[in-house]
Subunit: 228 residues, 2 copies
């Protein structure tokens, strides 16, 4: 494996350097995801991650302060990927939410929730890595504080999406949307964890079906129709 | 620390031997809980656990096949403790669920859910240990299968309690009770995890308050009054 020595100082951010630095960081993030998934977040070392990416430890530390900081870069990317897919998916699904006269239909929420679940990519691997990292954070107050900040930011973005989706389906939530976002995330994570426990290498259908057993009933119970 | 050599064969179950064996197992389970909480389930070794309990490795292996089997003994004990407390608590709270005429009141469900949450003992430590063990199980198909069996058994017992509690409050659930049990467990676990992340050594009030933000609304939305 080729080893690159890629030390760029943050103060020297010419566009070419900046692009090269960005590629280095991307490769380290890709490698970290693989190593975390393969060996566990707890067991993964900076050495393993650097080697997998084809860089030296020096290159790692010129880009990230620690394994934890690298995880947060990975988490930002994965959260953004999911939010982008949700955003795009909402545009695609919105015509089916209302009937021909533009009215809310009984099936709107189910369609929306199914679309939400179908827009989640590769979640078993991500769930495993994220859950393992949360366990580390639960044992380290500094990491925990940053983890909560990231979770709150992702929660706000999901809540904004949920409000937008509810508006399209002509409904509103009867409890604050951030609480709805927390409920959706907790139940979906629980469904994926159960799916992984049932079949670690199974297809992607099962967590979705598990989540569909409870999410529609909950969301329906916590929304009311908006009549105009 | 005194080291006991306590090797009893399972075929030699005279009452005295049996009681001694039971005490040995209890001490190993106590020690495991401490070592799991202190060092993490992942990092905890059979040697550490045996030493903490004051036994040899030989004594450990004459009682448990593995660290995982010891965890399941701990889990059975902790689940039973929680179910016993719920059972006893239901008797205590039931008079407050109905008004003087024996009718369901608006506050019945909130009172029930608050009682449920107040009946959970020492949950930060247990949540940490249980969540860490689930991560191990997610990476080991054999352990995962046994973990799911234990979870299903605990889920059935919680569902039976929920049906009993709903009956006392003169309500019934609008989706299957095992699904309600899954929702309650997922949201409560999520609340404890957030509480640990916010304040690892905090008092016990916070997870309860977090859970009270969403659980009453959900349970109210998923129940209907039974009129007789």
């Amino acid at each position: 494996m080729r080893v690159h020595e890629a030390v760029e100082s943050p103060s020297d951010e010419a566009p070419v350097e900046s692009a090269r630095r960005q590629r280095t960081r991307e490769r380290l993030v890709d490698a970290a995801y693989e190593v975390f998934a393969e060996f566990g977040v707890h067991a993964a070392s900076v050495e393993q991650i650097s080697e997998r990416a084809g860089f030296t430890r020096g290159a790692f530390y010129s880009n990230f302060d620690s394994k934890e900081e690298l995880f947060f870069a990975l988490e930002s990317r994965e959260n953004q990927l999911r939010l982008d897919r949700l955003e795009a998916g909402l545009q695609a699904v919105s015509p089916s939410l209302l009937d021909a006269a533009g009215r809310y239909t009984e099936g709107s929420l189910e369609a929306l929730i199914r679309a939400f679940l179908e827009l989640q990519p590769d979640d078993r691997r991500w769930c495993l890595v994220q859950s393992e990292f949360r366990m580390l954070a639960m044992r380290d107050a500094d990491v925990a504080a940053r983890y909560l900040q990231h979770q709150e930011s992702a929660g706000r973005q999901l809540a904004a999406w949920l409000d937008q989706a509810a508006g399209l389906a002509h409904v509103r939530f009867t409890i604050p949307t951030p609480d709805i976002a927390n409920i959706v995330v907790a139940l979906y994570e629980s469904a994926i964890q159960t799916a992984v426990l049932m079949d670690p290498d199974g297809d992607e259908g099962s967590p979705r079906e598990l989540a569909m057993r409870t999410l529609p009933a909950i969301v329906r119970a916590l929304t009311e129709s908006v009549t105009e």
